[in-house]
């Protein structure tokens, strides 16, 4: 078992958003969480990664058997949790290459592996960038500054393929991407996926799920999962929207 969320309740600011949320994710599984805008999907991703301002009021989260809520943001990342953010942050003055070198070496250090020197790192980064169709010039630019929506998401995907997390959470990973880019990013995600890893795909639309096949689809409304099923559930949502589920709870 990679991730187990038990009876989680959490607040965004002072607003209660996550209510008695339960989910178990095993190695090798791809889960999709679908829900209408404002349901709290991004909030869930921030609670998992430990973003300040998102407070857990009750419940537990176990990650690789450890109490995730006792870990700092960076510890969670080093233990193998990665979030493709819906809104990646701009960091003026910090070039992509040096940012990612810090990240990779911080992770390596944590796992007792020798740090990569600049040459080794640049080689690795260039290879991964090429697979995602990222122009090497982009790697010299400050993180996300002036990037188009698509470029931002490609950079998120690049960080994921370089850091090789055990559990990747994709929060609207396809928003802002044209169809070719969706294909490239999905290919990167699919190549990363193996029996030791897992994916949690958070999405409003079904589109991405045609490129990354989920084993499980969960409908997220009113702070928790209201229905779980297989791929066909996402197709049903595509047809009928979320109204049935949001009405159901009323």
């Amino acid at each position: 078992m990679l991730l187990k969320i038990e009876d989680l309740c959490a607040k965004a600011g002072d607003k209660e958003i996550i209510k008695n949320f339960n989910l178990t994710v095993n190695e090798g599984e791809v889960h999709a969480i679908m829900g209408p805008n404002g349901a709290g999907k991004s909030t869930l991703s921030y609670v998992l990664t430990g973003k300040p301002g998102y407070e857990v009021t009750s419940g537990h989260i176990w990650f690789k058997g450890k109490d995730l809520l006792k870990m700092s943001v960076e510890e969670r990342a080093r233990e193998g949790l990665f979030l493709i953010m819906q809104y990646p942050v701009e960091i003026p003055g910090v070039p992509v290459t040096s940012f990612l070198k810090h990240a990779v070496n911080a992770n390596r250090q944590y796992h007792g592996e020798p740090e990569l020197d600049t040459m080794e790192f640049i080689k690795l980064l260039r290879e991964e960038a090429k697979k995602l169709g990222i122009d090497p010039e982009m790697l010299k630019r400050p993180v996300n500054v002036g990037f188009s929506g698509g470029e931002k998401k490609r950079l998120e995907a690049l960080q994921m393929t370089v850091l090789k997390p055990s559990l990747a959470i994709l929060d609207e990973a396809d928003s802002g991407l044209d169809i070719d880019a969706v294909k490239v990013v999905s290919k990167g995600v699919n190549e990363l996926m193996n029996e030791n890893r897992a994916l949690l795909i958070i999405t409003h639309y079904q589109k991405l799920l045609t490129y990354i096949q989920p084993h499980f689809v969960h409908i997220f409304a009113d702070g928790h999962i209201v229905k779980s099923g297989d791929k066909s559930l996402s197709e049903e949502i595509e047809q009928n929207g979320y109204s049935a589920y949001t009405r159901e709870k009323l």
Binding site: E74, E90, G93, V94, A103, A106
Partner: protein, 441 residues
Amino acid sequence: MSDLLPIIPLFGDDIPWLAGRRAQGRESFCLPTAKTEAWKYTKLHTLQRDDFVYAPSKFLQEFEGECEEEHCSCCGEHHSDCTCGDHCQCSHKPNLYIDLPFDAYQIHFNNGKFMPLYPALSLGVEVMTLMQAVVEGQAKNYIGKYIDLQKHPFAALNSAMLEEGLFINIDNNIKLSKPLVFIYHSNISQPLVSNICNVFVAGKNSSLEIVEYYYHSGNEKDFYFNNIVNEFYLAQQAEIKHYKFQNESFKSAHIALNYVRAREGAFYKSFCLQKGADLARNETKIELMQENAGAQVDSAYIMNGWATIDTTTDIDHLSPKTTSNQLIKGVVGDEARGVFQGKISIAKDAQETEGYQMHKALLLSDTAEIDAKPELEIFADNVKCSHGSASGELDQDQLFYMRSRGIGENEAKQILIDAYLLEVINHIDNEQIKEWMRSHV
């Protein structure tokens, strides 16, 4: 420190104009109080003690033959066991040479005293002690002539004790190939006051790069007070680039006044990184005398603990088409206090002048403080000017983003601080010096 300065016999007290300048300094000196406008934000409690020490004159001994020994060419001290030559055997040879990551001519001061080791400079560049320049008659037209001692109390103190320092003259059309680095070593545990005055005279169309490195190698709690005055005289089209890294001991005091007087088409460009001292002030006063003279004054400061670091600029546009640009960026943590006072004055005749100034500071704690006073005084009507001051905190979303990739919190903060200061460090033209400064933020 009290307003009454001790009387220290100095070289040249018998030269009327020099004695007059010292007397004027002595009379003008008066420790600023909370009511002194120019020192309103910078509290001087670091100087509230009465055990200050002044070193006796080295020049009196030398010129009046009290000491027969030559200076040791390695350490610059007088001593009898010196067997100078290629391999100095002297027992107390301080190793002054510093490995710096840029090629330069090194000049050393040790606890306020110039070590007479002259770099082998190319033709057209002269380096001599200020007192030598007094003897040779070159100094009179410069030293302290244009500085208003009533307004600059520490320049008054410096004048009262005027003796140490260098006179540097660069001839017309000479361009010095390597920077001249002044390394001010401090390694003393006494409350020593060192008054140093350097005069730089740059001829027409000459160019010179100067680096000042205030380097402390003693106990980290050493208290001492470096009180510096630099005077820069730029003839037509001359260019001086002045880099300073102030890294004094964290208990010390450092006060510097850089006075610049630029003629037609001359350009003074400076960058100052202040990191050390409990009380530090770097003040730059520039007079753009003639058309097309220009200045760029950039600074960065990083401070923690209870330190006060003050950056004060005062730029006078006295002629048309003069330009000035300033960017000052600071990072303030703990209970430290950053002070910025920036004034741009544009005279009535100084049409088509441009003066820009920006101060930005990053506060790392709730108890850190910034006091900023930008000022514009414009008497001409056809000018472009702007000024401003802004302070903020580290961006929490950026910190979270970095940490969510596994970067530790402190490392993430350091990366953001580095990036913050990079904007101003990038103004440094000399790539090696830029890297050197960057490695110290």
